[in-house]
Symmetry: C2
Subunit: 279 residues, 2 copies
DNA sequence: GGTAGACTCGCACACTGTACGACAGTCTCG
DNA sequence: CGAGACTGTCGTACAGTGTGCGAGTCTACC
């Protein structure tokens, strides 16, 4: 019975006003906010500071933006816009470009860690990115709902890998030390924390024994996981090899409907199963 | 030259005081905070409210906890503690348990979306979880630094998949509608947003054409990606089959040092390469 | 000239995290 | 027993926050 409560809202779900050219503009506000965020971080962004920076009163901003969350949605879409994706590349190439691009964008704006994946990502830039990746998956022969699954998996891995790394980087940059030095400074702390976990400690030592700087090390780690994921997706059953010509429509209503989608092998342990509410 | 700036701090990097038994205790505060968060969400947690809830003044809490961030770190570790992992199961079983368990914990406390992966996860429960997964990877024959890579990949995928889903669920629950109804209500909005993206729209329709409830659908999606990732990790080269006996120490200083770790195949596009600062 | 809308902004409100210092209870040592 | 010292609580205060409201200004068009 859909009682109202607090319906879903987003900048992108209401049409904007903005007719005049003079004075403030939404774009100007978003740009200034992005600058401020890049320079001073998320905590430093207040409507008053932002207003002052563009020579306007704090509450003037509320004409162009409904509230602070909307502003942040706009800024986030700007960040998604930084992800460059080739238009008609192979599926692996596109997936790699999206993953590396998204990771790069997040790392370039580490203050966004608490926002990415949390605010709804339905702005034009976010959609364009998803669309590119989706087209690539389609070209790669994924069928029906599996297209969405593949897209989601690549994005999920990327977000989950980039977020903690960006968070780490921003505490490092706040400390004023270089990543290498920060890593070195952390050694005694980590040794103490991991004291009760010999394997953890061993792997940590292994990790830091190489002379790579931590930035490169995380890069290699990201590559490793991404390759594994793409390989795994490539090997999923139910795909259809598509050369260059689209079509060859084998009617695939996917396993989800027909056989109630019990995968041939599931990673799901018993206790995690959730109730399937809808018949 | 490691100038101080603002050194890394965390609840777990300083030893706690707490001697007496009477009055407030840190555990009590953390429990109350968790309750409050579960009931009313992240925005509703203020030190004053929390104090009032346990019959204490707001500033009394600061004796037991250095600041709000520390409190949140403690609460987050409580959540990691909800992830049940089998002690000596196979690598796939353990990875599945960690992934599904972590996902479940995040979904059970959707307010944590902006915190997980952002606050340092170095509490005892977080470490125990990592350690379990790490041991499993080791048993599975991953070598040297690859152990860490595999662990990181599984955690990254899980965080990245669970976070947006939890965020979605919390806007749904705020709207007061059931997930199914919310999904239905969103249809026109999404149709309009995705108007310029025919493929996106088609996949969305495909997605919602099945009669599964959205909760189950995301579950299946998670399973799909996780299986792909685990398969891909299984197929990584450089692993060593280990039966039950540990040992057989083939000296594996891993590729990272020796051959400067240029993987046989990389997902990294040219433009994403970052400077390798350390020689 | 008048009026309707597009904007800007000062004020005010309720609320935040937390530094500080005053106070009370309890433990330890002489 | 008495004197500190330490543990723990809390009221007050400060500097800030997001943003609702209404009064004001500017511009375009009838």
């Amino acid at each position: 019975m859909t009682m109202p409560g607090k319906p879903f809202t987003s900048v992108w779900t209401r049409e904007r006003k903005e007719r005049r050219e003079q004075g403030l503009s939404r774009d100007q506000i978003v740009r200034a906010a992005l600058d401020l965020l890049d320079e001073e971080g998320l905590d430093a962004l207040s409507m008053r500071k932002l207003g002052a920076r563009i020579g306007a009163g704090a509450t003037s901003l509320y004409w162009h933006v409904a509230n602070k969350d909307e502003l942040l949605e706009l800024v986030m879409d700007e960040i998604y816009g930084e992800v460059r994706t080739p238009a008609d590349a192979s599926w692996r190439e596109t997936a790699g470009a999206v993953a590396w691009g998204l990771r790069g964008a997040i790392l370039a704006h580490p203050w966004c860690v608490g926002l990415v994946g949390v605010l709804p990502s339905i702005g034009p830039n976010a959609l364009t990115m998803s669309d590119r990746l989706l087209k690539a998956c389609k070209r790669a022969g994924f069928q029906g709902i599996d297209i969405d699954f593949a897209v989601s998996a690549v994005i999920a891995y990327t977000l989950g890998a980039a977020t903690p790394e960006a968070a780490w980087r921003s505490v490092v940059s706040r400390s004023g030390a270089s990543p290498c030095d920060a890593q070195t400074d952390m050694v005694p702390t980590i040794e103490r924390l991991a004291a009760g976990y010999p394997d953890l400690l061993e792997t940590y030592r292994e990790y830091s024994s190489h002379n790579y700087d931590p930035l490169t090390a995380r890069q290699v780690a990201f590559d490793y996981g991404l390759l594994a994921l793409l390989d795994g997706l490539d090997a999923r059953p139910g795909r259809q090899e598509v050369k260059e010509h689209e079509g060859t429509s084998r009617t695939e209503t996917t396993r989800m409907t027909e056989k109630s989608r019990t995968p041939e092998r599931s990673s799901m342990p018993e206790r995690s199963r959730m109730p399937r509410t809808r018949p």
